[in-house]
């Protein structure tokens, strides 16, 4: 389908496609096995300016544009969901600075993130605060010109490899959700260490670690926005980043479909290519249709954000939920088309199933997305 992308957007798609085919796909299996952080691939992505797609031009980026970010993320994810999430998670960690940082903070952090010289990470999740983000226990206590951070974040994508962290901590526990604040924490700050690296089911090229804060002293000027704005920062950040997760899911689904079509044409049974069987064709047709529906939702939502629509929580949640559910279904069906071979690690398709699963879980489980959508529907009705 023609989405009427601009010339620049077509260029971004073409460039990300080239990187995906020439650099990401050949490295995908290697990093899936080794779980090393794919610095060499991210360096190429950085040199190609794609990290600039979520950063304003005045700070060294290409201008914040969610459609552009989704195009790049979709193309990279077609080849490897793991490497792509290292990229997308840097966007997630950067959005709080882009949205709420003051000029000094932006000048200090954004140029290196735009060039890909450094990557960012976002830290909110804790062992006891997953879907219930208001249950976070990490504290930030103001002492003179500093804040002292204490607590533990876990399941942090890019944790340990990122240089710049945006972290949510409680500045006033009595106020509940309104007592949370957002901070920028640099890697190497005394009192800031990393816990174990998680051994994951999928997206294994990306790193996931604990962030440990033990009397970690950061300058007070690293506070983003104002005290108490932590959850607003988080919600606005997720509104911006969810289409990116949706685009990641979309790319994984598209990549799996392409592999399935190719395999179906090559594989012969009963003296014919299995692609000549209606049973296979119908599966492929359903997969392609659902992917196209997800794509329409993802890019409509991205465009609404780019056009300045502020109330995008519902659409953003719909895009993330639908695209990731489609990714899960499509990758499982793609593996089915590969038959027994698909179940073997010698073939690339099983990795797509593993990579797809996380998109239903992170940045808000799909159950939480449904809560957001449901709540919004009721609110709209009450207006």
């Amino acid at each position: 389908m023609d989405y009427l992308f601009t010339d620049e957007q077509k260029m971004i798609k073409e460039l990300a496609h080239k990187i995906a085919e020439e650099k990401v796909r050949p490295a995908a299996a290697k990093y899936d096995i080794s779980e090393e952080y794919p610095w060499d691939v991210l360096k190429v992505i950085g040199e190609s300016d794609l990290f600039g797609l979520f950063i304003p031009e005045e700070y060294g980026g290409m201008g914040v544009n969610i459609t552009n970010l989704c195009l790049a993320t979709e193309e990279l994810s077609r080849a490897c969901g793991g490497i792509a999430v290292c990229y997308a998670a840097s966007a997630l960690g950067t959005f709080p600075i882009v949205l709420f940082g003051n000029d000094e903070q932006k000048k200090k952090y954004l140029p290196d993130l735009a060039s890909g010289k450094k990557v960012a990470a976002f830290g909110i999740t804790e062992p006891e605060a997953g879907s219930d983000a208001s249950a976070i226990k990490t504290t930030a206590k103001k002492e003179g010109e500093h804040y002292i951070l204490n607590g533990l974040k876990h399941f942090i994508t890019n944790g340990g490899d990122a240089e710049t962290y945006t972290v949510i901590a409680m500045t006033n526990k009595d106020k509940g959700a309104r007592g949370a604040s957002a901070f920028i924490v640099e890697k190497g700050t005394p009192g800031f260490t990393f816990g174990k690296k998680e051994d994951k089911f999928g997206i294994r090229a990306s790193s996931t670690r604990e962030l440990i804060f033990t009397d970690c002293k950061i300058p007070a000027k690293n506070l983003l926005a104002k005290e108490g704005m932590g959850f607003i920062v988080t919600m606005r950040t997720f509104d911006m980043s969810r289409p990116g997760v949706a685009a990641q899911a979309l790319g994984i689904a598209q990549g799996a479909l392409e592999l399935a079509v190719k395999y179906a044409k090559e594989r012969h049974q009963f003296g014919k290519s299995i692609s000549s069987f209606q049973g296979i064709q119908w599966m492929l047709a359903d997969m392609a249709t659902e992917i196209e529906a997800a794509r329409a939702l993802v890019y409509s939502c991205a465009r609404a954000i780019d056009a300045g629509s502020r109330d995008v929580s519902k659409e953003s949640a719909m895009a993330k939920m639908y695209a990731s559910d489609v990714a899960m279904k499509v990758t499982v069906d793609a593996l089915q088309i590969f038959g027994g071979y698909g179940y073997m690690k010698d073939y690339p398709i099983e990795k797509y199933v593993r990579d797809a699963k996380i998109t239903q879980i992170y940045e808000g489980t799909n159950q939480i997305q449904r809560n957001i959508i449901g709540l919004q529907l009721i609110r709209e009705m009450a207006k």
Partner: protein, 261 residues
């Protein structure tokens, strides 16, 4: 350092199909790309510019659509592109092509270095680079795999030959042809692609260049293509069975009856 890189647009040959009846290339739907060896030349030009400063000018001779190849080179970091394009140049062999390109290079003006890929993937002659240096009367170093040192007057490079390596020092200006071992061509940047899209390509035809009309195009090309054909497929061999003396006897018999007669 002012660097000129000569490139050629060629059909993408990785998925080329041959029409079995006419034995010609099926050109429909075949993408045009920059000759893969020229990608290394562009990359080396841009790297030398990054090392020593200066400017990289890309030159190509071809039909109007070769404009795309020049823009791709600009997206990789080259500064400008010159398209040498005229119906009068059609049918040029390697001699006429290198003569025409040398005319364009003279018009560009002062330069320190010309870089070419070692050969084009369609013709495989490896003659245009050396031809340009001959027409311009400058030294040439072919099959370069590394630029070791360079000053504004000379350059030391390593050549890769079948029997080994050679270190050559050449005065500048000079022409190098490069092999794929020299570098890994970069993926363009988005800023480069945006710049390339807006870049103004210089287009020169016969009237813009000081060329002898006798030496250009088909009439200026001494090469004559007599015939192009696909060699017939070899049929499978014949397996002989039995003990060694029996096989030997069979071979003698076969040679007598089929080959020698």
């Amino acid at each position: 350092m002012n660097i000129i890189v000569c490139i050629k647009q060629v059909p993408e040959t990785t998925e080329v199909r041959i029409n079995p009846e006419t034995n010609t290339l099926i050109r429909e739907g075949v993408k045009s790309i920059i000759n893969p060896f020229d990608m290394y030349a562009i990359e080396e030009g841009v790297r030398l510019k990054e090392r020593f400063g200066g400017k990289v000018t890309i030159v190509t001779m071809g039909p109007p659509q070769a404009d795309g190849a020049l823009r791709e080179a600009i997206s990789m970091g080259a500064d400008e592109g010159v398209l040498v394009c005229d119906r009068a140049f059609a049918g040029s062999d390697t001699w006429a092509t290198s003569y025409t390109l040398s005319g364009a290079i003279k018009k560009i003006g002062a330069f320190d270095l010309i870089i070419c890929g070692k050969q084009a993937s369609d013709g495989d002659t490896a003659q245009v680079g050396p031809g340009i240096s001959t027409h311009l009367n400058i030294p040439q170093v072919t099959y370069v795999k590394k630029v070791e040192e360079a000053t504004d007057k000379s350059m030391r490079v390593e050549r890769m030959l079948e029997e080994g390596f050679e270190i050559i020092e050449t005065p500048l200006p000079a022409l190098l042809t490069v092999v794929k071992e020299i570098n890994e061509p970069r993926i363009p940047s988005l800023k480069g692609m945006i710049r390339a899209k807006a870049a103004k390509i210089i287009m020169w035809g016969q009237k813009d260049l000081d060329l002898d009309p006798q030496n250009i195009g088909l009439c200026g090309s001494p090469t004559q293509v007599v015939k192009i054909f696909t060699p017939p497929q070899r049929v499978g061999g014949q397996m002989l069975k039995g003990e060694v003396p029996e096989i030997a006897a069979q071979i003698v018999e076969l040679l007598r009856s089929e080959v020698i007669s």
